[in-house]
């Protein structure tokens, strides 16, 4: 992209950087709205420190004709209110990028920006104070330069301001419009004149959703019949708790902020015993605390859905940064052997669908089901097709009604069966009184140490996972079916890999992709995908290749697997991945 408005915008990455809490991030929201109105798909990324005020806060925004689930490799436009933001970005700038910079405090150092980058610097903050009496208006001045550089018609921007600021009263709207005009004047002076509007108009079908993975999972929970949610605030999972607080009561459900994660997981277990579909969500530290409770649900055969919005670890780690480093804990954590399922959505649509599916699987197989998100998938806002609500089903598995119970001569809560699944009744159902325990037990739920019973119970629980296999969500595949090079990735890696594949293709490397939506147990389709390729790059956001390790334990051919890892707290980027693979392939 250049600052000229002669070209149609197909794909633009914008970065807005300022001091946290100074309002500069609304610049990116305004630009996102305008670009969305022009028919582009918008994806926004947050990069905030785990602190409240002060410190650099960066918002990333991508507007593209194609649906994208990630930022691109290059930044075409930077709007920055501090130098640090530009310094951080300088290596990512597109060759012909535009930089809009507030030099009120620090002038742009000579030589910082590459030669072809066009700089539009002015003291926005000082102008805002001097001319409009309030520093806040610096943001609206900057918007003008940004929209000019993007080729959005001035009137469209004015119209957008009216929509946005109307509810704040005419005074504030007026001031912001003045600031905008000040900005247009500045632009004019700098040779950034108003062009005709050339932004795509036909990129995006009507009615697309603009939604994060967390919001989609919360919506999926409600759609799938979830009616009890307990959680404890933690980044980047809090939005699930907060969204459901707003929504679930209208559906007759209860949301509870518990005193800690031990309470929230055990409250969900209690609710499940009373027959209500229950879920909790947290991030790595909370999942670590929940390990005993999750294993208990696996032992005692209690349906439970647990969302892990993964973030940079270990320990408190990098609370606001993406990572996929709890996969091992989900697949192998907890004491003893117990059945569990780990589902891995790749985009918000998947988050919705797999949450519904998790609720069904949890009740059908009476075991814990993890939903593994990651910070980028949880918190970034993507444009996506509306969810297929007609496809939502609710399957409560072998749940016994009072009538069924009345017709049975005997009811054994943990009865042995071919598929390992026993019929269950929930508290309140006449005739279904039963014992549930995390100790080893006989069919009636009475604590038992009999070796014969023990062995059968262990096998029964393991059998459930075998029985579930046929129904576990299948992965998504794309790419050249004849390619000998495979790619595997989950969570936010999915969208990034889609784009990396294009770059690989452009670089002459043809690939195909599997996004396993069930990571544990490892499905045959994953093993077969690997053996059908000569080499498979498993792309993950962690330092040790946890996904590759899980697949290896599940029988994946390690000779064909290669690890592509990132663990510096930055989101995965398609260019980096493509570059690494091309390099390794050409060795």
């Amino acid at each position: 992209m250049t600052a000229s408005t002669e070209r149609r915008i197909e794909d633009v990455n914008v970065i807005v950087s300022g001091q946290g809490g100074d309002g500069s991030l609304t610049v990116s929201t305004i630009l996102a709205d305008l670009l969305r109105q022009r028919g582009l798909n918008v994806y926004t990324e947050r990069d905030v420190l785990s602190r409240i005020k002060g410190g650099v806060a960066v918002a990333g925004l991508r507007a593209s004709r194609d649906v994208r689930f990630g930022r691109g490799d290059h930044v075409e436009l930077v709007v920055s209110f501090d130098l640090e933001g530009i310094e951080k970005m300088v290596t990512q700038l597109a060759p012909d990028a535009v930089v809009v910079y507030d030099d009120s405090d620090v002038p742009m150092p000579a030589g910082l920006l590459p030669a072809n980058v066009r700089l539009f610097a002015a003291p926005f903050a000082r102008l805002a104070v001097r001319k409009l009496g309030r520093i806040l208006y610096k943001n609206s001045i900057a918007v003008a330069l940004a929209t000019r550089s993007l080729g959005i018609a001035d009137d469209d921007v004015r119209h957008g301001f009216e929509q946005r600021f109307n509810r704040l009263g005419p005074a504030i709207l007026g001031q912001n419009l003045q600031a905008l005009d000040l900005g247009f004047e500045l632009a004019e002076e700098m040779g950034l004149s108003a062009g005709h509007d050339t932004v795509e108009q036909d990129g995006r079908p009507e009615g697309q959703l603009q939604i994060t993975g967390n919001q989609a999972a919360a919506l999926g929970f409600i759609a799938g019949g979830g009616r009890f949610f307990a959680g404890y605030p933690i980044t980047p999972a809090t939005e699930i708790l907060e969204s459901l607080e707003g929504w679930l009561p209208d559906f007759g459900g209860v949301v509870w902020q518990a005193e800690d994660e031990l309470a929230s997981v055990n409250m969900a277990i209690g609710a499940a015993l009373a027959g209500v579909r229950a879920m909790t969500s947290t991030s790595g530290p909370g999942i670590a605390l929940m390990q005993e409770g999750i294993g208990h649900a696996g032992s005692a055969e209690i349906p439970l859905v647990v969302v892990d919005c993964q973030r940079g670890g270990p320990s408190t780690g990098l609370p606001t940064k993406p990572e996929q480093s709890d996969l091992n804990m989900m697949a192998f954590g907890g004491n003893g052997d117990f059945p569990r399922i780990v589902l891995n959505p790749g985009d918000p649509g998947d988050c919705f669908e797999l949450t519904v599916e998790a609720l069904n699987l949890a009740e059908r197989f009476q075991c814990p089901v993890y939903l593994a998100l990651d910070q980028a998938l949880s918190q970034n806002l993507a444009t996506i097709a509306p969810f297929d609500l007609d496809a939502v089903t609710v399957d409560r598995g072998k749940r016994l009604s009072a009538e069924q119970l009345a017709s049975m001569s005997e009811y054994r809560r943990y009865a042995f069966s071919d598929d390992g699944v026993s019929a269950y009744s929930v508290a309140g159902t006449p005739g279904g009184m039963s014992l549930v325990t995390g100790n080893e037990r006989d069919e009636f739920g009475r604590v038992s140490t009999s070796p014969e019973n023990r062995a059968r119970m262990v096998e029964k629980r393991a059998q459930k996972i075998e029985s579930a296999r046929a129904d576990l969500p299948r992965g998504r595949r794309t790419g050249d079916p004849g390619a000998t090079l495979g790619l595997i990735g989950v969570g936010s890696a999915y969208g990034v890999l889609l784009e990396a594949m294009e770059e690989l293709e452009a670089g002459g490397v043809s690939t195909r992709l599997l996004q396993p939506r069930t990571v544990f147990p490892v499905l045959d389709e994953t093993l077969e995908f690997i053996t059908s390729c000569e080499r498979v790059y498993v792309v993950e956001h962690n330092a040790t290749g946890q996904l590759a390790g899980i697949i290896a334990q599940g029988g994946g051919d390690t000779k064909r697997m290669r690890k592509v890892l990132r663990y510096d707290g930055l989101p995965l980027r398609p260019g980096d991945i493509a570059r690494e693979i091309i390099e390794r392939e050409s060795l």
């Binding site: 759609a223 508290a427 014992l435």
Partner: protein, 284 residues
């Protein structure tokens, strides 16, 4: 009638205080006409944690220390259940102490019976937070009294103490506690002095150390400050009050939340219109 799980004989030592708690609870369900399928007995881990095996009801053996969150979750999910949580002093005061505090604070409509023997029976006699100072075992510190704890939290609505050696009083208090929760008033806490004859045999010792509040002239269980003063004064003499120590006004958590998830219709056909509306709010 469907046959449900066969009740087993308790495995407690002969003379264990926990037998009395069991009798009082089982009989209370009859006295209060609680349909057994609407009753849930959740227990912790410990000798006490086997009580649910001997009562016809929905029984659940929670994790060590987690019986209160599980019970609260069940009650919020289905407020029409009569939910009884029971467990030991180790379970409820040591590992579960934090949850007890929050149960007092948030007042879910469950009855919690602490089967308090001042030791960890099941793991063979270590000190618990309610052990007397000097009891063998590693834990130092002066014994915590869960009723004093309850008095310190303004959300508390029901505090009583019984004694395994006094079946009549225990029956009365068990009924009163369950009625409190059933009536939508919230969390009913019943501390039962339930001696462990194997590791902390203090039957001989307890009777003289208990002060029945019915015998205290003018005692008003609605007066939190007076309750605290009396309990503190008794504590200084090595004694404890029994009977209804405190009953306050309060709205049970499930009522405050308007909870009734078990009644919700989750059929997609019924739900999807409202879900669609919610989804549409995300259209750009």
């Amino acid at each position: 009638m469907t046959e449900t799980f066969p009740l087993a004989e308790p495995i407690w030592c002969a003379g264990c205080g926990h037998f009395s708690v069991l009798s009082a609870l089982d009989a209370a369900f009859d006295r209060l006409d609680v349909p057994r399928h609407e009753a849930m007995v959740l227990a912790g881990i410990g000798c006490s944690g086997t009580i649910q095996n001997h009562v016809t009801a929905y029984g659940y053996h929670a994790l060590h220390g987690r019986v209160l969150p599980a019970a609260a979750g069940a009650k919020l999910a289905n407020p029409s259940l009569t939910v009884i949580a029971a467990g030991g002093d180790g379970d409820g005061l040591a590992i579960g102490g934090g949850h007890l505090l929050h149960a007092f604070r948030t007042n879910p409509g469950i009855t919690y019976i602490m089967m308090n023997n001042g030791t960890y029976g099941l793991t063979k006699g270590q000190a618990s937070p309610s052990s007397q100072l000097g009891f063998h075992g590693a834990t130092e510190g002066r014994a915590a009294d869960p009723i004093m704890l309850g008095l310190s939290l303004p959300g508390t609505t029901f505090l009583a103490r019984g004694y395994s050696g006094d079946a009549a009083q225990l029956a009365t208090l068990t009924d009163a506690a369950i009625r409190h929760s059933q009536a939508g008033k919230g969390f009913a806490f019943l501390d039962v002095i339930s001696p462990c004859v194997a590791y902390n045999d203090r039957y001989h010792n307890w009777r003289a150390r208990l002060c029945d509040l019915d015998t205290v002239d003018g005692y008003d269980p609605r007066d939190r400050t007076a309750a605290f003063s009396l309990a503190a004064a008794l504590e200084a003499e090595g004694k404890k009050p029994t009977g209804l120590v405190y009953e306050g006004e309060g709205l049970a958590l499930e009522a405050a939340l308007g909870a009734a998830p078990a009644d919700a219709n989750i059929d997609p056909a019924a739900n999807m219109p409202a879900v669609r509306e919610l989804m549409d709010s995300f259209r750009g």
